[in-house]
Amino acid sequence: MLKYIIKRILMLIPVLIGVSIIVFLIMRVFSPDPAPIVLGQHATQQTVEAWRQANGLNDPIYLQYFNYLKGALTGDLGTSYYTKTSVTKEIFTRFPATIELALVAIVLASLFGIIIGVISAVKKNSIFDNAGMLLALVGVSMPIFWLGILLIILFSGVLHWLPSNGRIDPLLQPIRVTGFYLVDSLITGNMDSFKDALRHIILPASALAMYSMAIITRMTRSSMLDTLQQDYIRTARAKGIDESRVIVRHALRNGLIPIITVIGLQLGSLLGGAVLTETVFSWPGIGAYTVACILKSDFPVVQGVVLLVATIFVLMNLLVDVIYGFLDPRIKYSKKEV
């Protein structure tokens, strides 16, 4: 197993090289020249040239890429054209917000998705099943920004229950330990901060969870419908054990593999930043920031974020594959299969 994991991590190298080449080319071919954007439209031709020269944009493209790669290998992803801070630092300040939002959303989505999916499968064709599937249909079809706005109008505007934007009240910001406000406030014992951070994350996480939940619900339902038909479920029932135990410990346990797969993929894409949700809720995460950087042709930041997201996706897939091994004893990562 360890050997398999190491092999898979080594496979990250070609993936990252490929991804970096693609993003490098796309940015340079399709994005407008950053110099006038950075320097403003009144900049003289000379200053523009000088800026381009200073940032290496006048070099041939393969040389630019080679220099970038050289830096990246030493952990230097360059500096943002605008803020002049290093890309790693930019990512480091914003990424925890994205991770926090993604994790809370995926936990909500998995919890409700699995519960609704299981009940829908067990009570197939009942009113509950139909309601659950309708909810799932709404979940996949409803634009997330619209759902976000509706949530803000209802819970923030009309009911005044929850705040509509930001991660936390700036006055309650906890001391940074991990960058996750929920964790930091708990570590430092600051319950007021914790409550406030929780109140802030509920709406964006719910909006973000809706789509994933819909997908997880449908996958759970179909996987459970399949496992509930299996012979070993009949055997379990014949043992005289509780039906709830049959459903959870026998059927769900066997039906988990496809469910874990979609959860892993959903989490992977949520970690890439939920642009629309972050924008609607003014969430200071990486998604909305990256889009802004793309529009401003901030090459180093975009490249850095894309590499990070690609790494996360590969690692997420690896994690899912490793979990398979624990879920199903028949799956063994022997040399042959790798």
């Binding site: 005289g240 054990i241 066997n254 028949r330």
Partner: protein, 344 residues
Amino acid sequence: MLLEVKNLSTEFKLKRGIVKAVDNISFTIDKGEILAIVGESGSGKSVTSLSIMGLLQKPGRIADGEILFKSQDLNKMSKKELKKIRGNNISMIFQEPMTSLNPVWRIKDQIMESIMTHMQISKKEALARTIEMLDTVGIPSAAQRANDFPHQMSGGMRQRVMTAMALACEPELLIADEPTTALDVTIQAQILELLYRMREKFNMAVLLITHDLGVVSEAADRVIVMYCGKIVEEADVRSLFERPLHPYTVGLLQSIPQIDDDSDERLYMIKGMVPNPLNMPSGCAFSDRCDHSMERCTKEIPELREMSGRKVRCFLYESESITCGGISATSPSVGAMEGGSAIK
């Protein structure tokens, strides 16, 4: 009397109509007795066993009748009461050893689950009992194999595990639904031998569901022959093989290949096909396939009549006494008897 099934009818409501999978059948099983139910696919034998266990899945349902286990009607019991009996007093082994065990659980956990559900004992004791049961059913180095997952075992071994699981709580009745069908002949003999041994050891009754008359002749005390959801014949195993009464039973016995038969004749085959359950013949369900069919057979359904300790559902025996005539005196039955003994 351990189990008494009275006028049991089980039906499946389908869009195209109602299928009566089991139609008004009655039988009894005594303590320590092995009763075989024989019939081809669709005869209702498996549905009978699932009805007794309360494991029918929708759209199937018990339409009528009583299933008395030690004088208590299982059909009227609450789910909770039934769960106490299932796996404890009555347990079941299934036809498909390859798929009947949960693939993600260790063997020992699956057996222990059954034990811990019904017996008030510690985990340690349950494990000891599990290993003891695996040993009893003939799994070598049981303590180690207990840690295996089902996919690490062969079909025969898995059926032994199923048997160990079913016997773990020393049931009074074991329902074995085609326990040997998916296994090759040597393993089949071993499993039957095992059932026999367990019967002796625990004085357990067995309801053996099978389509294999070889298995019946080897294991059963008494036999019920089912056709299209109805019992067509019931007799002790010796009488049935020596002198089958119902033309269907005769046909079944005749179609057993005989190992010492050197003639070039083709194997006997019952003509025609099992009727569509949604479109049954108006009279006797076997009438259109029967060599002895009379006009009356296509109009009326014969009653299951009791005669000298056995039962048969056929007009041929309506007026005559069992000792003379019918088709029992003709050669097929003699051949069948030899067929039966050839299997033994």
